[in-house]
Amino acid sequence: MRRNWLPVWLCLSLALLCAAIAAHSRYRTDMGDFLPHAHDLAQQALDAQVSSGGASRILLLSVDGAPLAALAQLSRNLGARLRTNPAFIDVLNGDSAAMAGVQDFVWRNRYLLSADVTPRQFTAAGLRAALQNDLSMLSSAFGAVAAESLPADPTGEALGLAQQLGGNTDSGPLMQDGAWFAPDARSAIFLVRTRAPGFDIDAQARALDVIRHQFAQLRADVPGAGQARLHMSGPGVFAVETRDVTKRDVTRLSILATAGAVLFLLIAYRSPRVLLLGLLPVGAGALAATAAVSLAFGFVHAITLGFGVTLIGEAMDYSIYLFTQTLKGDRADRTLARIWPTLRLGALTSIAGFCTMLLSDFTGFAQLGLFSVAGLVAAAAVTRFVLPGLVPDGFFAAGAAGVGAPLRLLLRWQRPVRGVLAVLAIVSAVLLATHPGPMWDDNLLDLSPLSPATQALDQRLRHDLGVPDTRYFVAYRARDIQQALEASEQLQAVLAPLVVEKVLGGYDLPSLVLPSDRAQRARRGALPDDESLHAAFAQAITGLPFRPDAFAAFFKDVARARAAGLLTEASLPPPLSLRLQSMLMRVGHGWMVLAPLRDVTNPARVRAALDAAAPKETVFVDLDQQSADLLHTFQGEAVTLAAAGSVAVLVVLFLGLRSLGRVLAVAAPVAVAVALTAAILTLGGKLSIFMVAGFLLIVALGSNYCLFFARRGQAPEEWERALASIMLANLCTVAAYGLLSLSRIPVLHDIGQTVALGTFLCLVCGAAFSAPPAVRRPR
């Protein structure tokens, strides 16, 4: 045969171009990029927290398995070592060295930071009241502490600030031998903040390695700590663990799955070369799809890549249909000409189904849609124009001869099988229609690949360390940082009474860390000049038992504060800077403030107080509610897209088949299979969002089976080969996805289970309902 090499060269150059684009694409893993574009403030708050919030940088460590004294020393040594590493902003383990930088900053800048600095405070009367208060402090349990700072800070600014910045919490870890311990005193505990956000997985992995490495080194040096163990938790640990488990599972299972499929194909084709050729459509499809998404969106999301390759798995079947349906002595290009109308209609129905996803305003769904459409177009084109020319002359899939046998058996009993399936379909429909409660799994934790033990460790450490639950926030927008800080100062006036009222345990605000320029100027302006201060102080001290010459440090510090420049973000020590950044986020041209509220006992009351008195456009955000809403929207969108896709599939089928009866013959079995699959899966628990992707693939693959089952006017040997090709395609799919269902990762497990079960049921239903009775028993 004379081969036309033009399509091959064209395909090769296009593939190289796509590969070049794919190699230069940006790949993102941020969940935020996959989610719909956030419209309102509360959604943006969720986005910000999910992708890079301050909470994502927290690591919780616990060290146990040694006597208390050894653990305490290990904790102090490890803390000191980690503090010198730039990967960590904050290492809190009870060691006062951790807070030294912040304490020093607060002490030096107390007159700009403290809201108590008013002109009144520095009059003779104000100073006298402060000194009288000092006297009573000196004789109280605080006396020992107050005595140290008194000569420089008689108005007590630093003490007030320490309380304010400490978060007014009344829960904190147990202190033992200069280190924090869990309440049972068996494990030393740490709170670490990493410089990298929790979802910079590589940086997190490096930070965790540093901790492990340092721990192992130090453990050897501390007597009695030889058996000590280190436990770590937090978003970064989860991200790394999830990635590692996923990587392991994906590698192991995809090798197994590929091996399974390859085994079947090798038996059928008896030609490694043809086997490799069979990968051409799906490979070309993946390349083209990645390039298309990258060009259209500017980046490719990792989830798009993962799910997308699954969704274009249909392309694998194209080559199976071509190779297996080639008759003995026939040529691949003639076979293709024969089956192309059916193959084309199969590809077009899938493309139509996925096209509806392009309309979604979920970036992730839109990317998936484009990926699938571009991938299938490329795969179909390669199958049509490139593949036939590459198949060796005289190729015949000799090993596939017996593969169709189970289908022939099924066709022999078509009538009873139809009856059984019809009954099962009705039962499934009833089961689904009368399903008690929600069918969708709303528990986000069930979607998480973390083991219950890992989640329990996290819960325990969070409790022991008093890390607040970050469920409630106050959010508002601001034009610039100064406006954000001024609004924050107004907000404090609303929140402080709620703490007294005990509906709120505490809060953090940007202005607690960095007051607005306006407030700082007012405070600086409230400080009197040296002469006036001396005069007022002399008057204030009269009759009190203080030595007048004991307060030189006070006069010096006030004079210095009067001349000091205003504090800016750059002035803050790293822990406070991080704290500010975690509350201030850039959104578009302005800023969003996200201030965490702790221990909210009465959300309704807090919401009402904010609505009544807070600066306008301030919203109370319940993160749990937001993520539940988001999941619902996600599910709703997925179901809507699936429904719209089904309609598109039916329309394309009708345009291709031009007969309602034939459309029904193809669509009905797929519908029955989907209903059966859904019913079986709901019997085993709730449906997860991941299963939707599985259902899409069932429809895409199953409709192809049914189209081939429903083909008319084939010679008996052609029909025989068609049955073999459908069976072989299904065997490969069930083998591959069945193996995926063994994974511990919910997404892999759910998709694997759904697709393996659903496509098998499509095969059975297709044979029962689509295959024409006239050729039921070919000879």
Partner: protein
């Protein structure tokens, strides 16, 4: 020289007041029996007078008021003169009311305070493990007149509190003295009445 002053004062104080360590007349008596007898006190109240001397003060500060203890963890100190002040410790929660302001916080959040307060409370409760966790302990005297000299283990605590001395007779506390930062010395005389003992 100024930094040395507290040390000199402490030295003088120790030399003047402390009987020699381990000069115990009763061979069966020691920290164990003392703690056990203190642990029997279920509830006690007292009146106190306290003298505070400090570098910043021209004249010592005199205060007086009442104390209340209920086993195992409730302590209340009410200063009545010269100005009213109320300090309540229940479990680990501290409430301080002074000058019309009430502050609440947790002991674990305030190490210097925790050390001092636990020293007194653990002595009242006869809780030796807690006492040992915070302090090096030196006991002297006899069951009739004993003195516990407590030195903070933690360097952070030592910054504020150099030592804490508790004197007593039988299961009653008679004097609580401290020495600390800024040359601060306090001497509190306690007249304790045991309301209930097991």
């Amino acid at each position: 020289m100024r930094a040395l002053r507290p040390l000199v004062v402490i030295g003088l104080l120790l030399a003047a007041n402390l009987p020699l360590a381990h000069a115990q007349s009763d061979p069966g008596w020691g920290i164990g029996p003392l703690m056990r007898s203190l642990a029997q006190v279920q509830a006690a109240s007292a009146v106190f007078t306290e003298t505070t001397t400090m570098a910043v003060l021209k004249t010592p500060l005199q205060t007086s008021g009442t104390l209340r203890y209920v086993a195992p963890d409730f302590v209340r100190q009410t200063v009545l003169a010269p100005s009213r002040q109320d300090f309540v410790l229940r479990n680990d929660a501290v409430t301080l009311t002074a000058g019309g302001r009430t502050q609440q916080f947790n002991l674990s959040q305030a190490l210097p305070l925790a050390g001092l307060v636990e020293g007194v409370r653990a002595t009242l409760a006869g809780d030796l493990p807690t006492l040992q966790r915070y302090y090096g302990i030196q006991l002297s005297g006899s069951a009739q007149t004993w003195q516990l000299l407590l030195r903070p283990r933690d360097a952070g605590l030592r910054q504020f509190l150099s030592w804490l001395s508790i004197r007593g007779s039988g299961n009653r506390v008679t004097e609580i003295d401290t020495g600390g930062a800024g040359g601060r010395l306090t001497r509190m005389s306690v007249d304790e009445t045991i309301d209930h003992a097991s």
